[in-house]
Amino acid sequence: MAVQLRRILWGLAEVIEVVPETPRTKSLLLEVPEWEGHEAGQHGDVRLTAQDGYQTQRSYSIASAPEDERLMLAVDRLDDGEVSIYLTDVLMTGDKLELRGPIGGYFAWEEGEGGPLFLVGAGSGIAPLMAMIRHRGAAGSDVPTRLLYSSRSYEEIIFREELETLASRDGALEVIHTLTRSRPEGWSGYDRRIDAEMLGEVGWSPEESPLVFVCGPTSFVEGAADALVRLGHDPARVKTERFGPTGG
């Protein structure tokens, strides 16, 4: 008999690169000594300590695949976010960051679990879904996968180019965007918030019993998850990750 024992301990990560993804979002590429590896969908906690000893911490989803060399966290800059402002405005290459993880085995996907996979995200909720898409690619998996991704505007689509590239050379990966606030001229895609109708049009039918992962701000996730269950999806196959009221 044995229970898998594992303490989640704080360690020091080194910032290798800070990559601007959109006007509001940056990716942190980290080197983490003795990182034990993660599953796509897991998150890490970042802890900041002020000079007077005040500590605060936030969770960020891991956007890199387990196979990637560097750990990637995607961070949204929140105007009142004491942690996110530091991470997006102040942090530089070579800085050290207190990090613990990987955390959470529930909202995670490993290619052996199969699919089809229906990924539904809003804003920086793309991060753990991106880890799954990258993991799927790195593992050479052909699990049929659809991503339905809601952004405010074209400029705010995180990982836009990489998603385009991946989808263009992989017939089993489809990426469907919706833009909720502004659209570029000639935009022919969805132009509203994700609703039941859109989930029904884009997603796999309940009869195909897809594995569904929904990630984003709390209100978005609750709306999408409720709609999916009303469409007939098995609640046990709809996994959610709420970011909180503001997202990020």
Binding site: V3, R6, G104, G105, F107, T218, K239, E241
Partner: protein, 90 residues
Amino acid sequence: MDELRLDGNAAAGTLGEVFSFEVTTAHYACENCGRADRIGAAMVYEVRDLGTIVRCPSCDNALIRLAHNRGRYWIDLRGIRYLQVEDVAE
């Protein structure tokens, strides 16, 4: 008070400070309504710098309450009938 409603998996880091096994994939049954599910599918309310409450998504009963104060953890498990953890040796 900055209270955040999140998923059970959001509490994995905090719960990991006191439990040395992965809590979010463990199964539970709610003491109040009997709902059986995994902790990762429950609701988590985090009150920043105070503590974490894991609630039943069916009846809102507090399943697990965890607080950290003056160098001590307080863990209240009255809301669950059991926690079922996978035996990895089998």
